[in-house]
């Protein structure tokens, strides 16, 4: 037993030693084996044999690679030594002539590489624009945003309460400037048709936070942001040039926003439009009595003080938030504040996807390189007789290898130029197809870093596909090639190399196919989601009523009720309804809920619900499902009994098996009315996907518009069958009610849903294109290898057939040549995909990264293609008549 073990170990270790360069093996192979067996003996006594094997394996891999690299370095030195300008020019001339002589081969290689390079550079230009270009502000790394973390629920939001801005401003050694901000939408009038313009509300110092100075006048200051402050506005460059013709005298004049007069106090610098495309900025005018520490209606942003690093700032913020939790338990218990760099927040959603796409496109490039390397290798073998002849005539082998490398480089350069043109076109195409969420405000252009990347790709590509054949030739002794052009040892050696390249191609193709497959299934899952509302034949638009003219909640509610009646009366419209907090649109209020039929719970422990204010017609207009009780009617007035309808999830979570109808609740939010009253639950509706298609909404509560009163409404119209749009009719209804109101964001629900899926669809399309490219290249490569093998072994096949081999045997023999590396590639690809799947998890929905069905289908599909590509030339081999085969040299 012992001897048996000993022999087995020795055999295995000798096999491992093959990873070392042959010289090292020859010189010290015996000693290494001896030493290893000594160590085995020790391990046998002390235990830890498995560990020894792992360590010894790593030892051989590590030092074997290092020695080989050192040797390759020596080759490279030889390659460049003695390089003169004249020799270089001569090489280029030779190479150009070589390429011209084989136009078919050269153009196939150049086109293959150009496709790979073009695709890579296109994706890189997007990555460069979105992820690598810093934000266009001074010292962007000092800009940080605040996150409010609910430690109990494990949720995180950007919400910040007004008084907190002062808390953070007090940390003057940490923050140079702090500002709270929120988006605003106001109707601009006095310049032709009314127009709703996006803007920002700030607590002042917003420009200072970004390190910018106003072009004219001044920035808003904390002093402007008091509850009874004057109406002042800072204009963006757009409004200033459009509405005031860029007049420097604009400061001090007024604009009409939401029907009120605002004094222009400043103009922001060119290009500044934070948050999200803002065209003007106004103060919050927050009243701390009305909206205090629990009222997290803004986001926070700050500039770190000079010398303050993020880690230190995080610690200090941690200390302060712990203190706040003690001082204000109602609003700050379980709350922690975290800081994150603005640059990271801006790209967080798309970062994974973009890196994945860059990874995917690099795989396509690798496949292209492997393919061209394969072609070149075949040619190097074919040319070895010529090369040997030249070598015997006095050319050094190194010199010849260098010339081959020059040829590769010239090809890569041509491909690089063609690829740059393709990339220019590809980038434009990407920008047109990419969903806006991906690109944001990024400036995507072929700038110098993209060109540097392209140059690096060309150099890398040359190294990848050019070095293999060059080193192969450089290693061969001239005599080796002269005696026997076919079936020589060199042929077998390159056969192995070509198979390895092929396995790599198949593996990469499989990884890409699996990625595309997973995204394809994700889209299927997203389409199958029960959204809880109707999609087809539903149209909606947004309407906001200026506070200055509509003011109080009851007036707003009355206006929307009248509008709903008029719209329902239209012949195009079947149902009309109004909501604040429409599905898949920002604008839901989240608030705590008090269950009055349950034991009282302190504020931080109360469950939260998404609140939507809706009109009586909304149930049918949006296509919600009433499960229990009743929906709102015209009788649910301001003066009537306060009521609410809750969602299915809320009913299940709060009341379990009990009937929720008739229960009493109170919400902590109040909006438009003095105090939120105790409400009776009158019905239960089905849940909807309100925030995202892929996200469960959690508990929801609906309140009648008439009892809630929000001055912004999403008007939802269920169209009669066959009607494409009711917008023109809706516009004229609106004009009769109030000609100064503007419709914004008109869209059909189909558009809304497809917008939600646009990013996933885009990634899938790209991955599908990439995997298609890889598949075609790998198939061509496979076909080439088998066809080449058939050509090289024609004589042998002839003999076999003459000796009675059946044509099936010959086919099988040839197929094996392609199928073996392809199978190895499939295994490798599955392994790679298995290991890399985690990276894709965030892009998937309803399908696991290791989805077996996708793996089986993709592997099967690829295997089918592989079989077809090998069968074709193999069948041809089987039909070779022995007489003609034997005539071959």
């Amino acid at each position: 037993m012992k001897t048996h073990d000993h022999a087995r170990r020795a055999r295995l270790y000798r096999l491992m030693l093959r990873l070392l360069p042959p010289e090292a093996r020859e010189e010290f192979g015996t000693e290494m084996l001896q030493l290893f067996l000594d160590r085995c003996r020790e391990a046998e006594e002390a235990g830890g044999m498995t560990r020894l094997w792992f360590e010894a394996g790593w030892d051989v891999v590590r030092h074997g690679t290092a020695e080989r690299l050192e040797r390759a370095g020596g080759h490279m030195r030889d390659l460049w030594r003695g390089m003169t300008m004249g020799g270089w020019i001569q090489d280029v001339r030779f190479a150009a002539r070589g390429l011209r002589r084989r136009p078919g081969f050269s153009s196939a290689a150049v086109v293959t590489l150009a496709l790979g390079i073009g695709a890579s550079v296109s994706i890189f230009s997007v990555v460069n624009g979105v992820l690598l270009t810093p934000l266009p502000y001074p010292e962007p790394e000092s800009l940080v945003t605040f996150w409010s973390v609910n430690e109990e629920r494990g949720t995180r939001s950007r919400g910040m309460a007004h008084p907190e801005v002062a808390d953070w401003r007090a940390l003057s050694s940490t923050f140079e400037h702090v500002a709270g901000y929120a988006r605003a939408r106001m109707t601009l009038t006095g310049f032709g048709l009314p127009e709703v313009v996006a803007g920002g509300r700030t607590t002042g110092d917003l420009l200072a936070v970004f390190g910018l100075n106003p072009t004219l006048g001044r920035d808003l200051t904390p002093e402007d942001d008091v509850s009874d402050g004057a109406r002042v506005v800072v204009l963006g460059q757009g409004l200033w040039t459009e509405r005031f013709g860029g007049d420097p005298g604009a400061v001090g004049r007024t604009v009409t926003l939401d029907g009120a007069s605002w004094e222009v106090v400043g103009v922001a610098p060119e290009g500044f439009d934070f948050p999200g495309g803002a065209g003007y900025w106004v103060p919050f005018y927050n009243d701390p009595e009305e909206c205090g520490r629990g009222c997290r209606i803004m986001s926070g942003i700050a500039r770190l003080a000079g010398g303050a690093d993020l880690e230190r700032a995080r610690r200090q913020v941690g200390v302060v938030s712990a203190r706040l939790a003690e001082e204000y338990p109602d609003s700050h218990r379980y709350r922690a504040t975290e800081l994150e760099r603005l640059a990271d927040v801006v790209v967080a959603d798309v970062e994974t996807a973009l890196w994945l796409l860059l990874g995917a496109v690099s795989m396509v490039l690798l496949v292209a390189c492997a393919n061209v390397a394969n072609l070149l290798l075949a040619r190097a073998v074919d040319r070895s007789a010529e090369v040997s002849l030249r070598a015997t005539l006095g050319a050094s082998v190194i010199r010849l290898a260098r010339q081959l490398l020059t040829e590769s480089f010239l090809m890569a350069l041509l491909a690089g130029v063609a690829g740059a043109v393709l990339a220019w076109w590809g980038t434009a195409l990407l920008m047109r197809l990419a969903p806006p969420t991906l690109l944001g405000n990024a400036d995507i252009a072929m700038d110098e870093s993209v060109l540097v990347f392209a140059a690096l790709v060309v150099a890398g590509v040359t190294a990848l596909f050019g070095l293999v054949p060059a080193l192969y030739l450089a290693r061969r002794a001239p005599a080796d090639s002269l005696n026997g052009s076919r079936g020589s040892r060199g042929g077998r050696h390159t056969g192995l190399l070509r198979s390895a390249l092929l396995s790599g191609e198949v593996a990469l193709s499989l990884v890409l196919m699996l990625g595309a497959g997973l995204l394809f299934r994700t889209i299927g899952q997203m389409e199958a989601v029960d959204l809880g509302f109707s999609v087809s034949g539903v149209e909606r638009f947004r309407l906001s009523l200026p506070e200055s003219r509509y003011g109080e909640g009851p007036v707003v509610a009355r206006f929307f009720a009248t509008l709903e009646d008029r719209l329902t009366a239209l012949p195009e419209v079947e149902h009309a309804g109004v909501t604040f907090g429409a599905p898949l649109e920002s604008g839901t209020i989240g608030t705590d809920i008090v269950l009055l039929d349950r034991d009282p719970v302190p504020p931080p422990d109360r469950p939260s619900v998404a609140v939507r204010a809706v009109s009586p017609g909304y149930l049918d207009a949006a296509g919600l499902t009433l499960l229990q009780g009743r929906w709102f009617t015209e009788d649910d007035r301001r003066s009537g009994e306060p009521v609410a309808v809750i969602g299915w999830a809320a009913a299940a979570r709060f009341y379990g098996d009990e009937d929720p109808v008739g229960k009493q609740i109170r919400l902590s939010v109040s909006w438009g009315f003095d105090e939120e009253p105790t409400r009776t639950v009158v019905g239960v509706v089905g849940d909807i996907r309100g925030r995202r298609i892929t996200e469960d909404d959690g508990p929801a509560a609906y309140l009648p518009n008439a009892q809630f009163g929000v001055d912004v409404g999403i008007v939802t119209l269920k169209l009669r069958a066959g009607v494409a749009t009711a917008l023109p009719a809706a516009r004229s209804v609106l004009a009769t009610l109030d000609p100064n109101l503007a419709i914004t964001n008109p869209e059909t629900m189909e558009q809304v849903v497809s917008r939600e899926m646009a990013a996933t669809r885009f990634y899938m399309t790209l991955l599908a294109v990439f995997s298609g490219m890889a598949l075609v290249l790998a198939t061509v490569g496979l076909y080439g290898v088998v066809a080449y093998g058939v050509g090289r072994r024609t004589r042998e096949i002839g003999i076999r057939i003459a000796l009675g081999a059946r044509s099936d045997d010959v086919t099988a023999l040839m197929v094996r040549q392609g199928v073996a590396p392809a199978l190895a590639g499939l295994c490798l690809g599955l392994l790679g995909a298995w290991m890399g799947a985690r990276a894709m998890a965030t892009l998937l929905y309803g399908v696991r990264p290791h989805d077996p069905a996708t793996s089986v289908v993709a592997t099967g599909l690829l295997f089918g293609v592989v079989m077809a590509a090998t069968l074709l030339p193999a069948r041809r081999a089987a039909r070779i008549p022995p007489s003609s085969a034997l005539r071959v040299d």
């Binding site: 010290f28 000693e31 290494m32 001896q34 030493l35 160590r39 030892d59 590590r62 290092a66």
Partner: protein
Amino acid sequence: MADSPDVQRHLPLHPEAFRILLVLLAGDAHGYAIVKELERDPGRPGRVLPANLYRRIRTLLGHGLIGESSQRADPRVDDQRRRYFTVTDLGREVARAEARRLEALVDGARDLLVP
């Protein structure tokens, strides 16, 4: 004293190579004995394995810092078939120069770090 260019060329030595030279300065040894000696250093992480050891030995041999020794230990205590290594004169010089270099380095560090 300045080292000759012949010696300078080999500096700095890879730490593992330096230790092997130190082991051999104490007396000629074969691979397994060198390994055992190296592993007596308590600061050394993990065990010394064959590919690592013989890569260093090949480099040292190639640079002429060590040579093969014809000397053999008593056949009763050791294996006669093993190959023994010995330090060459150049190896001795290089080891000395490396020690001086490290000493200067440590001196410099001490000036900066020790209060």
